[in-house]
């Protein structure tokens, strides 16, 4: 179970988005793993929008499902070969190997779901409420940055969350500079007293500054 959205005042908040989850789970990027651990070892909550977690999970599952679909497609071709070329025995052997591959992919799928769940447990989830959905939809329709539908959902989820939770240091690490680096986006996070950072090294630098470690 992920950390809840209410509770005592915390020292720091670090909000992240889909790229952070992909970077930790898929790519195991050392700097992001370091930031995740730093949050665990300081009084910092790592906040991720619910929609970003769903997006990261579905993108991971999609990759494996693509492999599973390829196996299924291969089975159809094998059936044709078995019928047309009279190679039933050989085809059976290959199908047996395919079943093993399929079982392995299913096992890995389960492990990845567990990994996503472990990651989610280390985070506080910014929920995707009907209010967030409406605000994001209006933002998207009005063509206000960050423009893309999913990015609008990420942004409104975090703005809603940061309105309720305060900390001495609040940062939003966004690895999608291309879509979020707009004056409007900076302005709205500034109103929530939140630093919008695009480089993970800047998070470490801000933590150092905050704790007086140079």
């Amino acid at each position: 179970m992920a950390r809840g959205t209410s509770g005592k005042q915390v020292t720091a908040i670090l909000a992240v988005e889909t790229n952070f989850a992909i970077g930790v789970i898929w790519e195991q990027r050392p700097l992001l793993l370091r930031i995740k651990r730093l949050c665990e070892k300081t009084d910092t909550i790592l906040v991720i929008p619910e929609i970003a977690l769903v997006e990261a999970k579905s993108s991971l599952m999609k990759r494996i499902d693509k492999q599973l679909e390829a196996i299924q497609q291969f089975r159809f071709w094998l059936n044709d070969i078995a019928r047309a070329a009279g190679m039933k025995e050989h085809v059976l052997q290959i199908k047996h190997a395919l079943s093993n591959m399929e079982a392995e992919l299913q096992r890995r799928k389960q492990l990845i779901l567990e990994a996503v769940s472990i990651f989610a447990q280390a985070c506080t989830i910014a929920p995707l409420t009907p209010q967030v959905w409406i605000k994001a939809y209006l933002r998207w329709q009005a063509k206000i940055p960050p423009f893309k539908e999913l990015d609008c959902l990420v942004m409104e989820s975090l703005l809603g969350f940061l309105q309720r939770r305060k900390a001495k240091l609040t940062m939003f690490l966004n690895l999608d500079r291309e879509d979020f680096d707009h004056p409007e986006v900076h302005g709205e996070f500034r109103q929530r007293k939140t630093l919008l950072l695009f480089d993970p090294s800047d998070v470490i630098a801000e933590f150092r500054r905050f704790y007086g470690v140079m």
């Binding site: 889909t18 793993l33 009084d43 470690v213």
Partner: protein
């Protein structure tokens, strides 16, 4: 005579304290940190056994490309 500052006001300006491990995480280089005892890392290594990091990074890049093209 001016009022004395309250203790509360003074304490709120204090820097929060860091544990030794947090301090090490702040000062170390990325490659100096051992993640072998991290539950998430262990689970990920089990799940991705046989899938190279290069392959996973390529897939992550593909996802970024899909996101760039989305509306």
């Amino acid at each position: 005579m001016p009022k004395r500052k309250t203790a509360r006001a003074v304490s709120s300006k204090r820097k929060p304290r860091l544990t030794e491990e947090a301090l090490r995480l702040l000062l170390a280089e990325d490659d100096e940190i051992d993640f072998s005892d991290d539950l998430l890392v262990r689970k990920l290594e089990e799940a991705f056994d046989g899938w190279s990091l290069e392959e996973r990074r390529r897939w992550a890049e593909e996802w970024r490309e899909e996101h760039r093209e989305s509306k």
